[in-house]
Symmetry: D2
Subunit: 359 residues, 4 copies
Amino acid sequence: MTDLPDSKPGRAHANAQRVIDFRSDNVASASPEIIAAMLEANTDTATPYGDDQLSAMLNDRFSEVFEAKVTVFPIATGTAANALALSALTPPYGAIYCHSAAHIHTSEAGATELLTGGAKLIPLEGDGFRLHASALANAVATAGIGIRNRSQPAAVSLTQATEFGTVYRLDEIAAIAEVARSHRLKIHMDGARFANALVTLGCSPAAATWRVGVEVLSFGCSKNGGLNADAIVVFNPDLVEDLSYRIRRSGHTWSKMRFAAAQLLAYVQGDLYLRSARRANGLAARIAANIAGIPGVGFAAPVEANEVYLTLPEHKIDHLIKNGIQFLRRAPRLIRLVCRFDGSEEDVDHFIATLKVLE
Amino acid sequence: MTDLPDSKPGRAHANAQRVIDFRSDNVASASPEIIAAMLEANTDTATPYGDDQLSAMLNDRFSEVFEAKVTVFPIATGTAANALALSALTPPYGAIYCHSAAHIHTSEAGATELLTGGAKLIPLEGDGFRLHASALANAVATAGIGIRNRSQPAAVSLTQATEFGTVYRLDEIAAIAEVARSHRLKIHMDGARFANALVTLGCSPAAATWRVGVEVLSFGCSKNGGLNADAIVVFNPDLVEDLSYRIRRSGHTWSKMRFAAAQLLAYVQGDLYLRSARRANGLAARIAANIAGIPGVGFAAPVEANEVYLTLPEHKIDHLIKNGIQFLRRAPRLIRLVCRFDGSEEDVDHFIATLKVLE
Amino acid sequence: MTDLPDSKPGRAHANAQRVIDFRSDNVASASPEIIAAMLEANTDTATPYGDDQLSAMLNDRFSEVFEAKVTVFPIATGTAANALALSALTPPYGAIYCHSAAHIHTSEAGATELLTGGAKLIPLEGDGFRLHASALANAVATAGIGIRNRSQPAAVSLTQATEFGTVYRLDEIAAIAEVARSHRLKIHMDGARFANALVTLGCSPAAATWRVGVEVLSFGCSKNGGLNADAIVVFNPDLVEDLSYRIRRSGHTWSKMRFAAAQLLAYVQGDLYLRSARRANGLAARIAANIAGIPGVGFAAPVEANEVYLTLPEHKIDHLIKNGIQFLRRAPRLIRLVCRFDGSEEDVDHFIATLKVLE
Amino acid sequence: MTDLPDSKPGRAHANAQRVIDFRSDNVASASPEIIAAMLEANTDTATPYGDDQLSAMLNDRFSEVFEAKVTVFPIATGTAANALALSALTPPYGAIYCHSAAHIHTSEAGATELLTGGAKLIPLEGDGFRLHASALANAVATAGIGIRNRSQPAAVSLTQATEFGTVYRLDEIAAIAEVARSHRLKIHMDGARFANALVTLGCSPAAATWRVGVEVLSFGCSKNGGLNADAIVVFNPDLVEDLSYRIRRSGHTWSKMRFAAAQLLAYVQGDLYLRSARRANGLAARIAANIAGIPGVGFAAPVEANEVYLTLPEHKIDHLIKNGIQFLRRAPRLIRLVCRFDGSEEDVDHFIATLKVLE
């Protein structure tokens, strides 16, 4: 089930019918709170390139959120956050381990290869679309550490929640970290949907990251209510200086940084990020709970965050499309639905009802 | 006067006095019109990665503005716009000619070297901080075209308005383009302050770009009222496909592209970009007109856009700082003041008065 | 059986016993004819960087050998030949398809990633350690051509003979080329053991390369009697200029090129390359013919060139080591023996006898 | 006098006259001693990739030569040696200071930019074609250390002897090293003509390198009697492991390394390198001593090693060409003559006589 193309969305017919959009969480609007914060940031002048007051607050605020001294770099996209974070974890001749379904491997156009100077991504298989400690251990064992013609094991990248909406348990990450530590691999977490995973895990941000060995986190915001900013959160202070230059030279240091900082501050203010994720996850759970048992409908992955992967017969897929349900087709009979923070129970119920019609 | 460091700004004392900020145009706020457009864009869902309706309008709208079929890529920063644009103009073994004061050479942390795969920037001297056709011709003549151990001439990058606030005349660009054409060099324009230059030239966007040979433009918006989006405007359609992949893999393709498109659409709507630039230029001209002749005060560059470079004795510099005037120090006796679209005549006059006090 | 580490060789005991070396063909000496040619080249002065007379003869002589106008670039190593050849076939955002056991993927320390500017190698499985047209077709079909977040299919690399000593049949390559052509992929052949494959195929160099769609060939010489030069042979003239700069800037253009040209000229003179490969292949065939049927001994790959991959019980492996037989261990029970142009029937027979002792 | 193109050599007429070749030292033959060593290396099998006995001797032998524990990497070309050495000294966002005439800057097709991942070469002017400590100090002072949009000072590269045949005095290097140390810059020496400089200095290899602060040396051999191998000599052991991977992945690790090791061992055996350089330097000194004072003939640089740069009127240049003297033209009236270890007094005297004819 790995390395599938992003098929074009099943588009709704252009009639007057209601359109219900499950294509992705990045089709969502921006949270009113985040919009408001950006407006509020728009006063007077501010020192550019992250030396403004809001940016200064970012590190403090996120250090509270993560219960540790962290450094936050707002970044335009998750792709850039991932590739830049990894560029600080590997030499150009390094190997980076990830699940074969990892976004960095399948869907970032070689960003990691570019920004690391040509490091090699090593895709590994793993049940539930999660990398397993044993698979990592096996891979490293045969990697040829110290052999000059081999890409040298340098880092591990975990997507949390995964690309298929599953969530790593903390002990799974800890086990991976144990393998990583014994071979001096560094751990990156692609948290494009980090908030969704946190809600599922019900643990603190600290427990989900540095306490289980994560050194740098791509902290998603765009998919969960942000406008156009994600972030890199660095737990290992040794990485900060090097990374700051890499970010600048890849063109990812905004001059008017306050408008990115404002988004991220609002995103964690009052746990907005968790509230938004809880809502999206809840919608996905509502789907899962109500379609289980429909003949011909299978779950391609357990529903643990805000994504629902279903296998359906073609006529059911056609029926959904005809009824204005939008989603992505990942394979001939495999569809993906993503629930959003700004989605509605009404839309979800309409989808469920539509799916049941043909039962 | 080339390759000077960005010195730390002369910061105002922390007393209650009024602070007047001439440090840069990127300390500015965002235009209300642009803010409004972003708010308006925040409705319902939208297809990600630039396949939304606002992004679709971008190409059409900018094609009208530039009186030619253009392709527009919103980009997070001017640094990224420059380096990515150049990456589509040169092979990795290419040479890119620019003025020695060019931002791409002095102040982008090697972004061009990174994103081109290691092309070489060749800084050339030129009066008025402008590259001259003759200097380019001389450089290319001795470059060793076809000689395998030489970086091969591939592109020219012109900053318009220049880093020192001067403006290329159209015939100067045309003369450069003539040299470029005869050696198959492609021309990039770094238009971080393109609108300011246009206002000075009083010509159309088309006349200032593709009609004088520019193939790709870094179209600045952030310094002139945008929040966090600039753009690459491509005049040569052959560059578009290649560039689109390069942009994506450098992490510069926003998922919620509509929020960038909205900014850029608002920026050109009703010639907002020209109105804003006219205001900033006007403030700079007001300074220039009123301080000429003050003893000890010299112009380090003619004031042709929104920047004022002055040479001052140290005691005058100290006096300005003490009176809450903020600016950048570029060299021991050289200061830079930048006027903003949201600056005021009052601030300008206060600066002038402060400067005159010590006459 | 893919991506195994180069285990340390089973070294012979340090007693007086005879040492028989099957570790690789790159442990071999240099052919007397090639040595002689280098000596002969050492007269008077010669224009550097490939503008000497011997280098000039290279293109002509190889054009005769390949029955087509070709350009030859002598290169220090096969790794460099592969990575540089591929760098001329793919944009930095390209995907290169190869077998999962391909040397470029497993054993070149990321050379291709470096010299292509970060292209992605896509390993595919295939029986007999060969890439199959159908696997390529499937991979390209799901690659997402035109989708901006995907590495774009650009090239195919085939190793001939393969890393496991098997040989592509011409119709297999033609079938791959058919798929490649329909998607505009370019074909590279890693011919580190090209001569060994040619001998097996019994066809002309032309028939094995450009006539079945190969555009650029890494032409091995070192493993088959050269001292320290391999070559890139370019069939597609459009690649030559670009490649010549890439070679120079990676430091692979010798100043005293005549000493490399001399090796390559001698290597093809009087079909030395085929005679040497025939001898090596013959030794491997002699092994294969005489050990078939020994209990506990299995062939991990068909013996089609000069390599023999065997599965053996541990005690037999120990016995070989104790008796001075040198080879590589590829996995717990998997060993590789490589026969050389300068190997002997006596050595081979000694190995066979040793293996049979424990029957 | 910087950044001149390698003009095509003034070629001799194709008549029967004697041709005297002063074009470069890389047009030379190989030393008989080095040839003999390569022949001797051609016995039996040898472990590949530098694990052979001759390679093992290299480190020991060079450690004796340099009176310190060094690591030696044989490399195919000086370009590769330079770029790879520098790649171990700078991050990709680093700045490397060199003289504006440095080969790495003018004549290596961007090799350093490629292999460092896009570091920036900063050319500085300096009398005698040497970088001066004060120029370096000034450059670093305005470089903007710690400012994120600036390439960060990382390394200095000195060419010894310089591209114009001048030689750094030890106290000059020590002064540069003092500046470097205070800013944590690392020092690379491009020693394509290191032996020629040593002869001039009359000091030990240690005194000329690590004792004055050099951390890594490109150790030239090809221009002074080698066939096709130069070397990187590493004084700082912390650089070794990183560099070993960089060398491998750039395709610069020969499989039959013994043939390179043999050359380098023979090159230092019995001080062959010094004897050869002494001979070449002596020929250059003979020219310098005998043409001083010829009307119209000027020295463009002091003759301190084996290169002679002369300014001549055009008719004298024509006269030389007509009389079979080969050399490079560096500018309209500027020619370069390089004396070789295998040159003769007879040739030198013929040149002198020819030059005097027109007096």
